[in-house]
Symmetry: C2
Subunit: 574 residues, 2 copies
């Protein structure tokens, strides 16, 4: 992984980490095949950021792309009082144009495992991502567990077709889906058209990889000592794949999810949906003469992509010592009961996770459907497919530029309460829209994410929904259509709802969330599968913008806000 | 070719043509292989514009790309009094961001054959181009020749690798050249991996194309009647290839070059460099029972691309009647004496082309060299490789924003007057720069474009230089290094220098141009080979900006001009 040297400037307790990054496309071999990658400072993935609670992170981002704008979103960071640095095009800021530099500056106020990524078009899938770790500060809260060392595993999926071509396919009639990824990557490293594990299988379809260890696509090696406890910080920035991670011969204990401590539990493997992060502990209590595989495989879609592998190297064994045991087998992709059981084991940790407010002020039902508009395939929420406007919402809201987006609020519930979620939509037509949900400041909001059948009979997909600017409590998961009375399912015996920023809806199911609208700003809430968001699968919420200081002008240089300072607002076009 | 219906609004003699265009990437098969193409209104090439002298052309351009800005340059249109609508990123305007619409509005004041194309990154090569024809008006000047019908042939070259990948290769160490095109296209149509002409050659390497006629890559058919005279309007928007066009069995008479009438002359074939346009007349005086091939082949580089073909279909023959004679053979690619002889035949037409001013006020020598900067291969002019700034020059000049670009003028002559143009540079290092040549308004300027050896021994390439905003007189071409006294070569017996906007420099040679700096604005002057410009092969000139009205604000929304109206100029970054 590319190294990054930050300038660290401390004054008293406050530390500022200052990074200078240049974004550009480069050639790289994430999986042994050279492809174009959207890189930072000439490497892939982007540099690691490791900060402490209370630090200020400054990233001076220069766009060295040729014709594309760029932004970077700090996934999981709430950006309290700095919503303009959330890094989402059309929402928090105007994109940074080629040749320009933009300064992100925000405080990291909560320890946890996070990551960052492009949030414009499909630049995340193009390779624009990296790790962001926030450690507990020297004062203040202590972590409710102990370990001897840690590793960061940033998981992603990789395609050989450029995202430019994929975007055209998604907007074509007939629709051209991006299909399954060619490779899964661990810290940007995977293997295509060869396997590290074929020697366990004499009838393996792929030849064994020939690797010296210095290749860009050589697997990660985690060097450990026997009888120690290690923390794995796992983050999934996949564009599509739902994943499962396991370590051969070792159980793991889940201790953190999405930057929130959870009630520890032991498991053989961990499900990770795109946008989620987990910390797990594992103890090196196995035969110290052996090395072991970490395997990452696909769940929730019929896998057409081989497992990604990394090596747990018990020192002083050499890293080239091949594990005796094959990599763990990924659970059956469509064993959703197993997936649901895992998700239901995630509970808030008492003492660190407060319980949710007892009741809600507003409930918003969000029906997830696949639809068609003018012959194109889209995703829609309550029959509206989100189309991002050229003027960012935050500036438009702050300065009352009503022409920037549709002022009629989107629906708070299904277009038809009798909607049959078990069948393809009776009327597949949806509309395009860019209206937003305006929430009362500090109100408690429930969201019921309702899954449904796609345009194909007997088909419903996984959607991991990610909310910017907030953590939400996951009240519960259910099957079928959410019904009056299903609230009782929220209160399973003794279950404490976890706080998360990403939660999955299972096929033909629903997921209930609760959050407090306490962060002034405008925030996307969307399916974290990148082509799904590109096809309109998201909403935007806003609250308390009136309590914000002036929005920095360098975030407002486009669209109608770009015309604002010239007193010439009528000249903008939508 | 895609059709375009303009709204035509006349008031008295003045007509306004109004077009609504949407730019987006689509899948298309320019040569039988489906690829991504940057298209306008869903077709490729872009719509034809046909206007009359005195018309106002309005193009309402919407950017429907996902993450890229866009601009369109109206190649050959002088944009007198409207330099902000010249459509060059970093020079005349800020790019149009995704989701935004920009109105180009300009008068076409000179009859001729023109075209339009993207002028940002390598969006021209990506497919963003089309024809622009200006006919003589109903009053005023009459064309100095007659014909019965006309056809437009827009010539281009086509690659299967995306321009995004090509751009990365050009900026990589080791350098990755784009190599020769896969296909040549006539009006966006070519044939890859098959040949229309293989039946003439029993040992042909390519199989015969199987075409029904309705394919996107089916050749153009020019339907003609016997014993008539037709005008072919030929424009080359190639990214790389120098071309030669011939019609089987027919001579042609050259009558127009780059929108200027020329002394007519008859020839078997026409050389066309990228950025040039020609009109030729041909008479259908051959055996009317036959059809004939138009062939377009590569000159000036070792050809690795098959000829492009179109069909001259003598009615009432069926278009499927295969020509008895094979397509004309393109002259030997490196027969530069033949090329120079052709270029020297282009003379201004008395009565339409004034002679150049007798003397110049300023002479600028521009040495064209290939260099390296920080391990990257570049092209440099007087040792400076042009790097476009994020703030467009025009607004920066008009409003005196000196921080927008380097204020030290670039050199008016070679870095070393003893420079040996016949050898690779003794010191291959150059510098990157963005300073401009500021010309006295209405002064007469001579430019000597001096070619040189590249980084490879015994190698010098063709470079067609195109000037925005002006026509120049081509005073002459010479071999070797321009010497004191070579001015006498300008005055060959009886030769009247032609007016053009694009002129080639031959390998190891020089080309002398003269123009009057009479068009207030900032104007690129550059090699029209797109990867060469991308690698820095150009300069920017400016004159008379003080005489301009206010620059339209919608062209100023980026960089330091974007900050200007907020009184916050210090916040911009370069």
């Amino acid at each position: 992984m590319a190294m990054c040297l930050a300038t660290r400037a401390s004054s008293g307790a406050a530390t500022t980490l200052h990074y200078k990054w240049v974004v550009e496309n480069i050639f790289w071999s994430p999986d042994g095949q050279q492809n174009m990658v959207m890189a930072i400072n000439g490497g892939f993935p982007g540099p690691n950021i490791t900060a402490k609670v209370g630090d200020t992170v400054e990233v001076e981002l220069s766009n060295n792309l040729n014709t594309e704008g760029v932004v970077i979103h700090w996934h999981g960071i709430r950006q309290f009082t700095t919503p303009w640095y959330d890094g989402t095009a059309s929402v928090s800021q105007c994109v940074i144009n080629p040749g320009q530099t933009f300064l992100y500056k925000f405080k990291v106020d909560k320890a946890g495992t996070y990551f960052y990524h492009g949030h414009y078009g499909m630049q995340r899938e193009a390779g624009l991502y990296g790790s962001l770790i926030v450690e507990e500060g020297d004062q203040g809260q202590k972590e409710p567990f102990q370990y001897d060392g840690e590793f960061s595993l940033l998981l992603s999926d990789w395609w050989h077709q450029t995202v430019y071509q994929q975007e055209v396919g998604l907007s074509s009639d007939p629709f051209q889906w991006i299909n399954e990824p060619q490779s899964l990557l661990i810290n940007g490293r995977g293997q295509y058209n060869c396997s590290l594990a074929s020697r366990y299988n004499s009838s393996a379809a792929l030849p064994e990889c020939s690797l010296g260890g210095g290749e860009q696509w050589a697997p990660n090696v985690l060097k450990v000592l026997p009888n120690k406890t290690y923390r794995l910080r796992i983050a999934s920035t996949t564009s599509l794949a739902s994943l499962n991670l396991a370590i051969g011969g070792h159980n793991v204990t889940v201790v953190e999810a999405d930057g929130n401590y959870v009630q520890p539990f032991s498991t053989t493997d961990v499900d990770i949906y795109s946008g989620e992060t987990y910390s797990v502990l594992f103890t090196t209590n196995q035969n110290p003469d052996e090395n072991y595989w970490i395997s990452v495989g696909v769940r929730g879609r019929l896998p057409q992509t081989p497992q990604a592998l990394a090596l747990v190297n018990y020192l002083p064994n050499h890293a080239s010592k091949f594990p005796t045991s094959p990599p763990p087998v990924t659970p059956q992709w469509d064993d959703y009961n197993r997936s649901k059981a895992f998700s239901n084991r995630i509970q808030g940790l008492e003492g660190t996770t407060p319980p949710p407010p007892a009741d809600y002020d507003r409930r918003i039902m969000l029906l997830n459907t696949q639809n068609t508009i003018d012959g194109l395939t889209v995703w829609a929420i309550n029959n509206v497919s989100l189309s991002f406007p050229p003027t960012p919402y935050l500036g438009a809201l702050k300065y009352g530029i009503k022409a920037a987006f549709d002022q009629t609020p989107p629906p708070d519930t299904f277009p038809d309460c009798r909607y049959d979620i078990m069948s393809p939509p009776a009327n597949p037509n949806a509309t395009t829209g860019n209206a937003i949900y305006t929430l009362d400041f500090n109100s408690t909001v429930d969201v019921i994410l309702q899954n449904a059948n796609t345009l194909q009979p007997n088909d419903s997909e996984i959607h991991p929904w990610h909310m910017h600017g907030h953590n939400f409590w996951v009240l519960g998961y259910g099957d079928g259509k959410f019904q009056r009375g299903d609230e009782k399912l929220f209160e399973k015996a003794g279950r404490r709802p976890p706080l998360k920023n990403t939660a999955v809806i299972f096929p033909f199911g629903w997921t209930a969330l609760r959050f407090v609208a306490d962060n002034p700003g405008a925030w996307p809430f969307h399916c974290h599968i990148e082509p799904h968001l590109h096809m309109g699968m998201g909403v935007v919420i806003a609250e308390g913008v009136e309590f914000l200081a002036d929005v920095p002008r360098e975030t407002l240089s486009c669209g109608l806000t770009g015309m604002m300072f010239s007193g010439n607002g009528e000249e903008g076009h939508n």
